[in-house]
Symmetry: C2
């Protein structure tokens, strides 16, 4: 998506350690034109895919998931993060390692909100090593629901998580695909190119 | 807002201890028709109020704030919650006590995303004793920005937080105003009535 790439190029900051900072337009401060177009593009990509629910993880996926769900006219659900693995109730859980924060967290969804009959679109802001997306896939499948695919705002293709999940047969659509980046430039994968 | 009241009445659950559970339509699972209408109603209430930014707190305020910001065509910002009060960088912070979780947390926004020249609409899912909204007001004023008002999905009027803030001169609009509730029924404040 052109606007996503332009904003990453113009407003994103590559920090030491391979962190792409998008806080000024996609994360803590969210540009509404970008958010609207992101929701429309996700809805376009998954039109006809039979999606009846959008699932994300708190907190930075919620706005994007909401924008997509509004365009698609389906409910959205977000998984909560807990520090403790000791979660009560009729829930499904998965442990996700955050490479950014260097710690594990447990992501949790109530079976009340996700279950058999759901065909689920997974939405998140970033896909790097794939840990968060694997967590969402696990929650969906544990709940007896079906993964329709994933829609990601920014994929760091060079970290390989997306490729590994595509090889397992999951459909993953990323609106901006980064081939490489350093403090001076961000290079995107072009359509039709291998990532 | 009629749809909000209807969904609270039909799908909300009042738990012991005065907790209103709205997880099935407003919180963990979000109904998209309700979300769209909530955004439209907030935009209608604050049309002409000169709002140029929407501010909320992660996580349960984000979807509502995003829906409102999309309707209003202004950016949204969310304050992050930290357990530690030891936060680095050029930020504004406030300590918010959660009566639901029985603990304090520090809410944080970068001065990069909120500052002089901003006229801010504060958005949250619940207003009860007012602690979270006071935190958002404090962040806004510390950053040198101006509070245009607040838009809240559900106000528990009997807890008094909204009334105290209105007396201080803040404009607070709540889409559903609960006068009283118990395990059998929820009674709403009608327009024109004192809460």
């Amino acid at each position: 998506m052109r606007l996503m790439e332009d904003m990453i190029r113009n407003e994103g900051k590559v920090l030491p350690g391979g962190v792409l900072k998008v806080g000024s337009f996609l994360n803590q401060r969210i540009d509404t034109d970008l958010l609207r177009e992101t929701g429309q593009e996700i809805a376009r990509l998954y039109a006809g895919a039979g999606v009846n629910k959008v699932l994300t993880i708190e907190a930075s996926g919620i706005a994007i998931a909401a924008a997509a769900a509004l365009e698609m006219g389906v409910p959205m659900v977000f998984a909560k993060k807990h520090r403790s693995s000791n979660v009560e109730g009729d829930v499904v859980t998965a442990v996700v390692h955050s490479f950014t924060h260097g710690e594990d967290c447990t992501v949790v969804v109530s079976r009340e909100y996700l279950g058999p009959g759901d065909r689920v679109l997974l939405v998140d802001d970033f896909l790097a090593n794939g840990a968060a997306l694997e967590g969402l896939i696990s929650l969906t499948e544990q709940a007896g629901a079906e993964v329709a695919g994933a829609a990601i705002a920014v994929e760091k293709c060079f970290q390989g998580g997306g490729e590994a999940l595509r090889k397992k047969g999951y459909r993953i659509e990323s609106l901006a695909r980064i081939a490489s980046m350093d403090e001076n430039s961000v290079v995107f994968v072009r359509d039709g190119e291998a990532p």
